[in-house]
């Protein structure tokens, strides 16, 4: 990359900063100036150095890195148009842009797959990056020649045609051949994890292709729009309702760090809460030692006992991700409470505290709850009314005057009786009851949601992502 004009650099840098702010990163003008100083010192010779330098100046936590990387690629792209390496020795262009019909030979695809298999087996990053460029160039184009605005580059289309996942067996065989471990008896233990490692490499290659396609689209539409739409959000801003399997796994990895952070915030609140009013009697008594002048006031210390927490979670399919994450989070924070009990329901309520405590694999938690706890009656649809009734009937002893109850769910009741009286009974016994709803308030009055009915009984808060959940937990829970 050659050094562009200063005005252009400044525009790019501020564009990058604006796009990052759009993703919830807090970057002030001071950081932007630092970033400019970084570029000034490093120059434009090495892109990876620029990336590391800008990250050092602009980022403030690790969770922001993925967003930054994707956005950086858009604003400081590797090149323009066809990648230079591909332009230097162009691969044979397919005569027919449509993929050959099933069963017909596809020599270009086969050649690319061959080279990709070799590059993945050798873990050669440079070759993989080059291949990603070629793959998008060859297979990713759609709507060529049509009106501007309806053409573009698609990673989905390119990857669909290439299907790198199907290379796994071939790469494994090639690697074993090379290590001379084709015979299973020669293999050592690391061979068992080899397949997982190849899968990781293939996933990284998919990310390369997506990045390349984003870069090409950004040339057509401008980086600002692509940064806004196509860059995945940071883990703590992933919407619970729309999170995929990988995103949920990513979220689960943040459980323990987040729990630690929330615990310190709660502890800070607790410290402040312990500072009480002036204790007049003790202050006067103490003032006798200083000749009747109250030099050192004595405070009435409050020693609040830690609250008990009851979690009441809807674990039906629609909101399972939310319930799952919150259960793990609360479990990780259990030392902050004197007692934590967790109940799960779909249309019947069962206690799952033990399941949660002895569970070893958080990924299978939801499946285990559905299999081992009696959370469903004769059908598998959510029924908040009967579940709350069930709780009020059989488990109300879990709730006392020191208990804070959190109900988690979208209140989508499949048009059954919402039974707000059961919730009222719970609320009457508990110290506080909060309902956390993963849906945004605009959706509450729609469809089969009984959210407004319940919101009339207890405080209901929208809680769409982990960031918000952290805020609510530190703010709402009594200390």
């Amino acid at each position: 990359m050659t050094a562009p004009a200063p005005a252009d650099t400044a525009a790019r840098l501020t564009g990058l900063v604006r796009a990052l702010r759009g993703h919830g990163l807090r970057i002030g003008p001071a950081e932007t100036v630092d970033a400019a100083a970084v570029l000034d010192v490093l120059g434009f010779a090495d892109r990876e150095q620029m990336r590391a330098g800008l990250a050092a100046a602009l980022l403030r936590s690790d969770g922001q890195r993925a967003v930054f990387d994707a956005t950086f690629d858009l604003f400081f792209p590797l090149g323009v148009g066809t990648p230079e390496a591909v332009r230097a020795e162009p691969p044979p262009v397919p005569d027919d842009p449509e993929p050959p019909r099933f069963g017909r030979p596809d020599p270009l695809r086969d050649a690319l797959r061959e080279r990709l298999a070799a590059a993945l087996a050798a873990d050669d990053r440079a070759a993989q990056a080059r291949l990603a460029g070629e793959v998008v160039e060859a297979f990713g184009r759609y709507g060529a020649g049509s009106t501007p605005g309806s053409d573009g580059w698609s990673a989905q289309q390119a990857l669909g045609r290439l299907s790198p996942e199907t290379l796994l067996a071939r790469i494994l065989a090639a690697l074993r051949e090379r290590h001379g471990t084709a015979d299973p008896s020669d293999r050592d233990l690391s061979d068992r994890v080899l397949a997982d490692e190849i899968r990781r490499r293939i996933r990284d290659f998919r990310a390369l292709v997506s990045g390349e396609a984003r870069r090409r689209v950004a040339e057509l539409r401008g980086p600002e729009r692509i940064a806004e739409r196509a860059v995945a959000p940071t883990a703590d801003r992933i919407d619970f309702l729309y999170a995929g399997r990988d995103q949920l796994a990513e979220l689960r990895r943040t459980v323990h760090p987040l729990a630690r952070k929330l615990a310190t915030r709660l502890a800070a609140r607790r410290r402040r809460a312990a500072r009480g009013q002036i204790d007049l009697r003790r202050t006067l008594r103490r003032s006798l030692t200083t000749g009747g002048v109250p030099l050192r006031p004595a405070y009435r210390l409050r020693r609040p006992a830690r609250p008990e927490l009851v979690l009441l979670c809807d674990v039906s399919g629609s909101v399972a991700g939310f319930a799952d994450f919150t259960m793990l989070l609360v479990q990780a924070m259990r030392e902050q409470f004197s007692k934590v009990r967790v109940f799960a329901f779909v249309n019947r309520t069962a206690e799952v505290t033990d399941l949660l405590r002895h569970g070893d694999d958080p990924a299978r938690l939801a499946a285990r709850i559905l299999a081992e706890a009696k959370v469903m009656g004769y059908h598998g649809n959510s029924d908040y009314g009967s579940a709350l009734g069930d709780f009020a009937e059989h488990h109300l002893d879990a709730v006392g005057p020191r208990t804070c109850v959190l109900v988690l769910g979208d209140a989508r009741n499949n048009h059954r009786d919402p039974n707000p009286d059961a919730l009222r009974r719970i609320a009457a016994r508990a110290r506080r009851v909060f309902w956390l709803n993963p849906e945004q308030p605009a959706l509450w009055p729609t469809g089969d949601s009984a959210a407004l009915t319940y919101a009339g009984v207890v405080e209901m808060h929208p809680c769409r992502n982990a960031h918000r959940l952290g805020e609510l937990i530190t703010r709402l829970l009594p200390v």
């Binding site: 010192v41 050092a56 100046a57 630690r260 800070a268």
Partner: protein, 296 residues
């Protein structure tokens, strides 16, 4: 805010370029990724403190030691802990000595005694002030910042942004030579925005497989190459599992050393089962890993 264009006013001047930084770090036995080398170079050149965050055992403290060795600088270390305060971090008046001075000069007037007992002689410098006042090149390491209370951060702000310390009785002491400052944190709590925005940020993560192989080869030279590769691969797989504490570089090296000491030449079920405790520190994790690796 610092301007980095000239680089001679504010920087500490340890390195001339990123490549130079990487090379000289490697020469001390610290293999650095591009990100680490770049960020260290920038911290040096722009004269900004560097906040290094990352899981335990990836070499955050080692980085500071390597930097001190390169710059032939004095390493001043402030180990943070819960309850650390101004008197432990910045400076303290030597009360006992002050009292002695007052008793010794009983016949002196108050004015003389007052100017005397708040002089340099009675000042006990603690790490932050020591680093600021040094004439020689200094690397200041503020270790495990997240363990300290929030109040201490406020105390650091003056030191980190202006490299000066204000002692009310003496006035403001400004650094004659800027130290290279490293703060490390395990992210057990969020550091305040004010502190973060005064620093460059580096997240030190587990190294990629290639770098880790090189580290193992450097630190455990006796280990067979294929075995080193297997070790790194299994550690990589363990990190991909959802464990309570993923093994970090320190554990990889320990494991490699253990294997070398045991004289193992391949990783078979028995060896791994017997030595898993070296890399995994929780019983749950050991059980889960054994299950996933299908150890018999």
């Amino acid at each position: 805010m610092t301007s980095g264009s000239n680089g001679n006013g504010d920087g500490t001047g340890f390195f001339t370029s990123v490549a130079d930084a990487a090379e000289r770090l490697a020469a001390t036995g610290y293999l650095a990724s591009t990100a680490v080398a770049t960020t260290v170079f920038l911290a040096d050149r722009l004269g900004k403190p560097l906040l290094v965050e990352g899981p335990a055992g990836v070499g955050k403290t080692e980085l500071a030691k390597a930097l001190a060795e390169i710059g032939r600088a004095r390493l001043v270390r402030l180990q943070c802990y819960e309850g650390i305060d101004e008197a432990r971090a910045l400076y303290e008046w030597n009360h006992a000595k002050q009292l002695l001075r007052i008793t010794a000069g009983r016949d002196q007037g108050w004015e003389e005694a007052r100017t005397d007992i708040f002089g340099e002689e009675f000042l006990l410098t603690r790490p932050l002030l020591t680093a600021i006042r040094g004439e020689e090149p200094t690397v200041l390491l503020i270790d495990e910042m997240d363990k300290a209370d929030v109040e201490v951060e406020a105390l650091l702000l003056e030191v980190l942004s202006d490299f000066q310390v204000t002692v009310p009785e003496l006035g403001t002491i400004t650094a004659t030579r800027r130290p290279l400052v490293l703060l490390t944190s395990n992210a057990t709590r969020e550091l305040s925005e004010a502190l973060r925005r005064r620093c460059l940020f580096l997240h030190l993560d587990y190294p990629d497989a290639e770098l880790e192989r090189r580290i193992v080869r450097l630190k455990v030279p006796g280990l067979d190459d294929t075995l080193a590769e297997s070790v790194v691969r299994i550690v990589g797989a363990l990190r991909a599992m959802e464990l309570r504490k993923a093994p970090s570089v320190a554990e990889t090296i320990d494991w490699a050393r253990t294997l070398l000491a045991l004289g193992a030449d391949t990783l078979d079920d028995t060896v791994v089962r017997d030595t898993l405790g070296v890399i995994l520190k929780h019983q749950d994790d050991v059980r889960k890993a054994a299950q996933k690796l299908t150890l018999g």
